[in-house]
Assembly symmetry: C2
Homo-oligomer: 420 residues x 2
């Protein structure tokens, strides 16, 4: 019997999702994990803490999918109505689950070291028609229900609790109970070419792709990611086919290729530095430490990242980075000589192979007649030379900070690649 | 005639949303903007770049809502199928929209300064049954369709383009064509109390709330936001009611109140510093510049934030922050004496009223027998004193970085409040 595609839907519950107070990161994470085991997410839906809307979502999604994952609404407060609703939806009665009660008691006694109140104990009550999925990371357990040919799994919305339950219960359960084919992706990152031009460059490649393989363009902050996705029954045949196609694609875009993985710019830079046994520091004005944050957020970054001098105030550009007062008063702090001095000084002060320096006007304030919002100077230095470049971004502050960081890191990347 | 509630649905299109490659931030933003004008978002759904799934989503959502907003799938590449689909769905024919073509030509000639290719010109083709919504931020225009009593508005998925079209076309159109009641929210942020205990503390308040007002608990990184939401016909009556209730709530939670707005911790700290005409700097090890980034991402931060020394490498803790070698070699870099010295040195070196210092083990590597992943030391200094505190977080790297930043900023906040 051929493997059939298994479809999943994700329901996220909470008014905060519908008034825009919270960005839903759980769904993206769940989709990634399901993909890894060959499950296709067909639909994602967000509903408020409203009885009828949740009920209807359960009805609708179970028509489309054999696996319905539900997050949110399981907390101890009055706005959390998911549990009583599920109890009624699946015709159950609320009962105390003793292992869950023991676990909650343990958490309060040994970890939180606070008295437990009735509200907490109530989290141990579950519908008697579900399988309880232990939540080692919190007090609200996961719950698994079956109805006709669909399984429903409800989990708390707190991300690290939801992730723990998914890894320890949901994924193993699905692997044991569903036929799963293979889904695989290959992603690369390009910089320095627009989406349309990239599409022209790889037009022949795209048109020659076999039916099972899809190509997607993901533009973001002046870069474009390209993703090949395939679903096949046979995992090794799929991987082989994707590898061949991906190699062809890499050659086609080689002049713009940043990294041949689904990783951001800073990871590409980090890998180059590790490979060359080199180090980097930053001297940041307008980005306020954001480039340092990007370089240090990934595990293992202490091998190549040594630190940063964030000179947000002009006074600090003078005192810690030696930018002469005359330069700041004549050509100004958003200028080529300023970032060149910042890069040189940071490299020496932090004793690294490379340094990145940035100074610019991120907005909304700070613009002058000659220097509009979005003007940024970037410099990259090594022991032999310093290169500097200006950019004219526009629009809003956060986007300008992102674009400045990405382009500064890309300038460093090019300097490293040209040298080696 | 009484004002009726107007419901909206948001459809986001793109395989990247269903394989978890991209987090959907557009929906949250759109929901906020709709809320501001009294429109209730009832449903949000994400579908892939699949003809039948998009078609079905249009059918389904129009049953639930009078306004259907659609983002994504309008790019110039082959995976973007939304436009031909909408053309067929609304029984139209593709025609060239001359103003759009002129706009695209202008962008290529004057802004991108690159030759325009056919693929770009094709973005000026639109279904003849739509109203074209000019996109000043990009090449793909927005499109407005009507069917029965529902309007459908399709916009590109690139956030700053979508936002521009929303502000300049969508919101004014809705305000002119729909009856809208008033929705309003009041949000405050608490720290230092768990969700269950908070719920006990305000139990009476919660039970006495009028029917039109809902209370929501939003826990995140050890803090809990509380939100009151109401929908009423009369905006000023609603605002008055909410103000009264919100004042009561603030008094109930006053011991834990960080800020009485929907703002993060760093904004609360920034406001206090501005009010006191004081400044801050950071000395960061394990957070790698993240606290500096938080303090500088909001407009106007140059008034109180002067800069940072990110001493990711231990060598830098010695050379730039004067942590003695003996301390690092005996009690270690994750210790009380280290962060006290870092905070003192940063305050002097960056010439500020306050300094924050952090040093910890964010994981997954770096733990020892005595110092597990999640151990963090935090210090806050002013001219008179330094206070230091250790925390034991657990779990993953990003969460530890977030929790460290939040708790360090809260320690500073408490020092400022106690002083003033």
């Amino acid at each position: 019997m051929p493997t059939q595609k298994t479809y999943a839907s994700i329901i996220t519950i909470g008014d905060e999702l519908l008034i825009g107070q919270v960005i839903d990161t759980n769904s993206a994470w769940l989709a990634q994990e399901l993909n890894k085991i060959g499950i296709i997410v067909k639909h994602r839906v967000a509903v408020g803490d409203i009885w009828d809307d949740i009920w209807q979502a359960l009805d609708e999604e179970s028509k489309q999918a054999s696996i319905v994952l539900i997050t949110g609404g399981l907390g101890p407060t009055a706005d959390d109505i998911t549990k009583p609703l599920l109890c009624q939806y699946f015709n159950g009665n609320m009962v105390v689950d003793q292992p869950t009660l023991d676990h909650i008691t343990y958490i309060f006694e040994h970890i939180l070291k606070r008295p437990m109140i009735e509200r907490n104990a109530k989290q141990a009550e579950v519908p008697d028609v579900c399988t309880v999925l232990k939540n080692e990371r919190g007090t609200a357990p996961g719950m698994l229900f079956k109805k006709d040919n669909t399984i429903f799994i409800a989990m708390p919305g707190v991300p690290h609790e939801m992730k723990w339950i998914t890894h320890n219960h949901v994924i193993p359960y699905i692997q044991n109970h569903f036929q799963t084919g293979a889904i695989a992706h290959r992603t690369l990152l390009t910089a320095g070419i627009g989406e349309s031009f990239l599409a022209e460059l790889i037009k022949d490649f795209e048109e020659s792709l076999p039916e099972q393989i899809k190509l997607a363009y993901l533009p973001n902050y002046g870069m474009v990611r390209l993703r090949l996705t395939g679903w096949m029954e046979d995992k090794s045949a799929l991987e082989k086919l994707l590898d061949t196609l991906f190699n062809t694609l890499k050659i086609k875009v080689q002049d713009y290729l940043v990294i041949d993985e689904d990783q951001p710019m800073e990871v590409a830079v980090g890998k180059l530095l590790v490979a060359n046994k080199q180090t980097v520091a930053t001297a940041e004005s307008c980005t306020g430490g954001y480039i340092a944050h990007l370089l240090s957020i990934h595990p293992g970054s202490s091998v190549f990242f040594k630190g940063s001098i964030v000179s947000y105030a002009n006074e600090i550009k003078g005192s810690l980075l030696g930018v002469p007062k005359e330069i700041m008063e004549t050509v100004g702090v958003v200028s080529e000589p300023t970032v060149i001095q910042m890069a040189k000084a940071a490299r020496v002060s932090l004793n690294t192979d490379y340094a990145i320096a940035v100074s610019g006007i991120m907005g909304p304030g700070g613009a002058t007649n000659e220097k509009p919002v979005g003007l940024v100077w970037v410099a990259v230095a090594n022991a032999e030379r310093v290169i500097a470049q200006s950019f004219n971004f526009r629009f809003d502050r956060r986007r300008n900070i992102e674009l400045t960081a990405t382009n500064a890191l890309n300038l460093l990347r090019r300097m490293i690649v040209e040298k080696s």
